[in-house]
């Protein structure tokens, strides 16, 4: 008992799970079949109902006709009752008909039964073909009433017509019936055919739909097969595009585009890792090698001092690189939220410039803040300072001694734009688009002389993205470079 109770929900659960794990082709076939089955059931039911109605309509029509004929024979107008005598013809008619011996048997079955009862239900007269059977009389029915009944062992459709005397009192009822057997047989046959054909059609339909669905989703299987073989090492593989420009074509094209982007991202990541490792390993090898050679032999103090100083410089350089890499990694994390505040740009620029003054003074470079239309911008003060500081120190680095750097603000289509312009070496046009890339250096010889790693501007761009600040650069070789920051609307 307990076992059963325990097992029952389990079975239920596994049954529940099986539907989601059903293959797509089976599911398509299943849903299609269910929908078609429902539709077919409705249509079949409607047909049966309609045929049924039509059959009864014909019966009732025939009954009406028989009643009218009987009345005509009895010379009765409407349903007026003028005595039972006028209906004596009911039996006689039958006798006449009985003479046609050849049709006698058939008449028994097909022809109508007529019976006259008085108001208490007693049979006054009836047609001979009824023999000892009598037709059902239902005194509860008032007015003309059509209904199914049984006469002897035969199913009949009958009508009960009240006959009213001149005072308006129902004196008798005329009951006319016709057997329904043959029509009922047809109806039953139709019903049986439908009952048998319904499951057969559904089964065939399911098998056919399943086959068709299988055929039409075969390209999906191919897409799956290809997608499964694509790994990080063979990201250049692509799904072959089908000939028809259908949904599957779009699916394949979309997946291929996804692979493109993935490959691109992997490639960039790989390049970044290679560059970072190169940048870290080079000074590391220099320090390691220098020290290894240094300790192989005893040397003079000055020699030691010089080499150790060199190593310290290299280590500082590495430390700076590690700082920048960590910063980049931190900002790479999109979840990093800048502390956006409202900053008065003119005031802010002035303070940033004064903090960078020592750098520029060294090279006799003057930083001018030009006709600043003051305005409030939304930015993270610390991040913005890092950005401007980075751009400015680049400008100082690549400017000749004694030149000037201009910082200006302007309003362009409602947005505040801050520009930083130097008159230094400039950037060749073909290299302009890459300056924000990580480890990209305009000067290809990895010049320790300028001391950069090519990470500064990529950090600037990352910071700009985080604060939704637009950044652009324009330059002319040997004339200077301009960086523009477009702040979002406050």
């Amino acid at each position: 008992m307990t076992l059963n109770v325990d097992k029952a929900p389990e079975r239920h659960e596994s049954g529940w799970k099986s539907l989601p794990s059903m293959s797509l082709r089976n599911r398509i076939a299943f849903y299609y079949t269910v929908a078609t089955a429902f539709l077919m059931a409705v249509v079949f039911a409607a047909i049966l109902l309609l045929v049924d109605r039509i059959v009864y309509m014909h019966f009732d029509e025939e009954l009406r006709h028989e009643v009218a004929e009987t009345f005509e024979d009895a010379h009765v107008k409407g349903q007026a009752f003028s005595g039972f005598d006028s209906f004596r013809g009911i039996g006689g008619t039958d006798d006449e008909k009985g003479e046609h011996k050849g049709q006698g048997k058939k008449k028994e079955l097909d022809s109508e039964f007529i019976q006259l009862v008085d108001s208490s239900g007693r049979v006054v007269t009836k047609s001979a073909n009824l023999s000892h059977n009598i037709l059902t009389f239902n005194p509860a029915y008032s007015g003309v009433r059509y209904f199914n009944s049984v006469a002897g062992d035969a199913q009949v459709r009958q009508v009960q017509v009240p006959l009213v005397n001149s005072k308006g009192i129902t004196e008798a009822y005329l009951i006319v019936a016709i057997p329904m057997k043959s029509a009922m047989l047809v109806l039953l046959d139709l019903q049986n055919i439908m009952m048998v054909s319904f499951p057969a059609i559904i089964l065939i339909l399911f098998i056919l739909t399943r086959a068709i669905a299988g055929r039409s989703i075969r390209p999906v299987e191919e897409v799956i097969a290809t997608a499964q073989t694509v790994t990080q090492s063979n990201l250049d593989q692509r799904i072959p595009l089908p000939h028809n420009h259908d949904e599957l074509y779009r699916l394949s094209a979309t997946i291929n585009a996804l692979f493109d982007r993935m490959q691109d991202a992997f490639q960039r990541e790989k390049q970044f890792t290679a560059d970072a490792s190169h940048e870290l390993k080079t000074p590391l090898s220099a320090v390691k090698g220098t020290l290894e050679v240094l300790v192989r032999k005893p040397r003079e103090t000055a020699h030691y001092e010089e080499r150790i100083r060199y190593c310290l410089d290299e280590l500082n350089r590495m430390a700076r690189l590690i700082d920048q890499l960590l910063m980049l990694a931190r900002y790479e994390n999109e979840a990093m939220n800048p502390n956006i505040a409202k900053i008065d740009i003119a005031e802010y620029l002035q303070s940033v410039i004064s903090r960078l003054e020592p750098l520029s003074v060294e090279k006799l470079i003057s930083i001018k803040l030009e006709n600043a239309p003051s305005g409030v911008v939304a930015a993270d003060p610390a991040m913005l300072e890092m950005m401007i500081g980075n751009i400015l120190s680049n400008a100082i680095k690549y400017s000749p001694a004694g030149s000037s750097i201009e910082i200006g603000t302007a309003r362009r289509s409602g947005l505040l734009v801050c520009s930083i312009t130097d008159h230094g070496v400039g950037i060749p046009e073909e290299k302009l688009q890459n300056v924000f890339d990580r480890f990209y250096r305009v000067d290809e010889s990895r010049s320790s002389s300028t001391g950069g790693f090519g990470l500064g501007l990529s950090i600037v761009r990352k910071l700009a993205d985080l604060q939704h600040i637009g950044i652009s650069v324009s330059s002319r070789e040997n004339a200077g470079t301009t960086f523009e920051l477009t702040f979002p609307a406050v």
């Binding site: 390993k281 090698g289 290894e292 192989r296 990895r446």
Partner: protein
């Protein structure tokens, strides 16, 4: 033994030159691809070390061009690029060995010695008659008796012993024992040969170094009957 180092990172180039010279090698340095290739093409180096990422022509290209010129000089790749594809690509472009930065200086020396052995049977210790010279420890023996030489004397003797029984011209000796900054005339060789002869004589190895008039010198085992 004269080596060429093509390396743009001045710190690395400097300790390589310094350390290798202390190991009695003559070392030339080029800081970018073009001048490195020029040096490699015009001088007869015993071994070339190339960094992959150098300004101008890349290390790979330098390596390929040296091989294209028909030279079979041993080339060592010295690079921070460390992926499997990089190593395979580097070796396939004609390098004899691939050393990843950062490396141990001792390992670099051992790998250089591997490349400088003429055949695999050659040990690092070679001998001519009763003279034995060890390129690893820089020791020189006459029989079992050790005697000392100056670095230049050792480098000269080492070169002659590696080419024993073959005449070595003065210009070849200059090329392989002195670096490119040495431009004075070849009479300096005669001076060092004299020093060497005296030291060998004192140690009891006899007169192993012979003069080939008009050409240079040869070191070979002296047969008593020919004396």
């Amino acid at each position: 033994m004269r080596l060429l180092v093509i390396e743009d990172e001045t710190g690395i180039a400097r300790f390589l030159k310094e350390g290798l010279e202390e190991e009695y090698f003559a070392v030339d340095v080029a800081y970018e691809g073009k001048s490195g290739l020029d040096l490699a093409m015009t001088n007869d180096y015993d071994l070339i070390m190339v960094d992959w990422m150098i300004p101008g022509i890349s290390g790979i290209e330098v390596c390929k061009q040296i091989r294209r010129s028909g030279s079979s000089v041993p080339i060592l790749f010295l690079t921070a690029r460390d992926t499997l594809e990089d190593v395979v690509f580097g070796l396939d472009s004609g390098a004899n060995d691939y050393i990843k930065k950062p490396f141990e200086f001792e390992e670099l020396l051992a790998r250089i010695r591997v490349q400088l052995r003429k055949t695999n049977q050659d040990a690092d210790a070679q001998s001519v008659g009763s003279l034995t010279i060890n390129a690893v420890t820089h020791q020189v023996f006459c029989g079992s008796k050790e005697f000392t030489l100056t670095p230049k004397e050792f480098a000269l003797l080492d070169y002659l012993v590696r080419n024993k029984d073959r005449p070595c011209s003065r210009s070849r000796i200059i090329e392989h024992v002195w670096d490119m900054h040495f431009y004075s005339d070849t009479s300096v060789i005669d001076v060092y040969i004299n020093f060497l002869r005296k030291k060998l004589e004192q140690a009891g190895c006899g007169n192993l170094i012979q003069t080939i008039r008009g050409v240079g010198y040869i070191i070979r085992e002296t047969r008593p009957d020919s004396e």
